[in-house]
Subunit: 283 residues, 2 copies
């Protein structure tokens, strides 16, 4: 059916092109569906790093249509931190392009609801497990690629990220690198960090670079001092990340940094929108 | 300057990635500037196929910000016909990402102004040579890749498209392939056609595929009958294109079809927006 292949091919949002970031035909997605069901029922309610290997993991942002154009342009202008996987129709909770059975108001373990730029219940029990009661018909949902997508591939090659070994959330840091602004959205780049032995860096770079729709390869590889020089992250802050948890850095290891999906969250908070919703960092 | 390289790299809108579709540093762009100046002064006032080789050519759409989100999503969902090169800030006439010195209200030879979906002065002398008097502070300009971009590369290899040989505009056809809709934007795919001897098809495909930001490779290669089967273009219509001019098709030649930048124009006309502006097809 020539119309069939063409329209399905043309439907794909190709900003987040690359392996794992288009909806390939005939693939078994039952593990992802089952995991979403566990989240929806409340059985899984915390971070998702290392869950459901070999599937795309997404970050989520939802905001009123009034700000949706500026936010979409923000994503296009900051593709390393905001790789678009899907843009939902206003008021629609199913991401038709990438996971038609999913529901963005119930299938994420924890949400942050921002009112005038202030997140309610940060890091506490008040962080919401669903957002059905704040959802409005004029809201537009965005799914953005997440670096957790390639963590399963790293684990399979014995390159397990430290935070998975240590059973915690990935460490994330605010930087002084300004985002390319769009309308009210600006703010600074946030990065995630994974320490590796220098002998592993090339292979970790190769694997992660295969996923441009999930932040792709590292933005930086270096020692703690170079973090300050390039990103404004002081050495002391390595053990006190701005988001997520600290991880052990072993003697001789280098710090690898990737653009992080928390970047749009900080831009949204700083924009002080009347209403916006995101996933909770790491969830 | 690590911040410099990073922010300039991150500024690039990467939906229209690929050769010729990012603003490479240090390249001589004076020929493009000079051509735009000729257009601005009225010296060049008709179609642009074959003009200014080795530079990116763009199609233009401008519409009120109220419809800009839906149109931007339309482009992302129909990347073959609507490859985004730049999205301008509302009210801004300079495309900062791809041609900071250009002005989208004066630098296109002919414009179409649509009011409630009806284009004024179609194909007549009333088609506007600038749109300064209809421009509004709430308008958002979009630049989309145009297949004219790779015509210089074809000419350089002796694969000159027929309409350039014959000094006319490329033939363009409405098809029955539905676009992926977004909000009020839907309509059908429009294709451009270039006939080639079968021995040339592989090389023409290779060259054009290098430019995903300018519609990329052909959607179809075949005889006149296959056009009807796949696209709903009757054999008789080959000599009577919906846009542009008819070209000679020689014995034994096949018809190569590409997604065309007139696609969003027809979607805009059908959406019956109160106001929208595009380039005139071929200009």
């Amino acid at each position: 059916d020539p119309q069939g292949w063409m329209s399905s091919w043309m439907l794909t949002i190709r900003t987040a092109f690359g392996p794992g970031c288009t909806l390939s035909e005939g693939r078994d997605r039952s593990a992802a569906s089952e995991f979403r069901q566990k989240v929806r029922s409340g059985e899984h309610s915390w971070h998702t790093s290392g869950e459901v290997g070999n599937h795309v993991q997404a970050n989520m942002v939802a905001l009123p249509k009034e700000q949706a154009f500026d936010f979409l342009v923000f994503c296009l202008r900051n593709p390393r931190s905001c790789p678009l996987l899907d843009v939902l129709e206003a008021g629609t909770t199913a991401p038709l392009s990438v996971a038609p059975q999913a529901n963005i108001t119930t299938d994420i373990p924890r949400y942050r609801v921002y009112k005038d730029g202030v997140a309610e219940g940060l890091d506490g029990p008040d962080e919401r497990k669903d957002i059905r009661d704040v959802w409005r018909g004029d809201m537009v949902g965005f799914l953005l690629g997440c670096s957790f997508t390639w963590e399963a591939a790293l684990c399979q090659e014995g390159l397990t990220p430290r935070h998975i070994e240590e059973g915690c959330n990935v460490p994330m840091y605010r930087t002084r690198i300004p985002n390319a602004p769009s309308g009210v959205f600006r703010g600074h780049l946030v990065v995630s960090m994974r320490p590796y032995d220098p002998s592993k860096v090339d292979r970790v770079t190769q694997i992660t670079s295969l996923y441009p729709g999930a932040h792709g390869g590292p933005l930086h590889v270096g020692d703690a001092d170079s973090l300050f020089e390039r990103f404004g992250i002081e050495r002391e802050r390595v053990g006190r990340p701005d988001f997520g948890d600290p991880v052990t850095v072993r003697e001789g290891e280098v710090l690898m940094l990737w653009a992080c999906g928390v970047t749009p969250q900080t831009a949204i908070a700083e924009a002080r929108l009347p209403l916006a919703v995101t996933h909770s960092p790491g969830c």
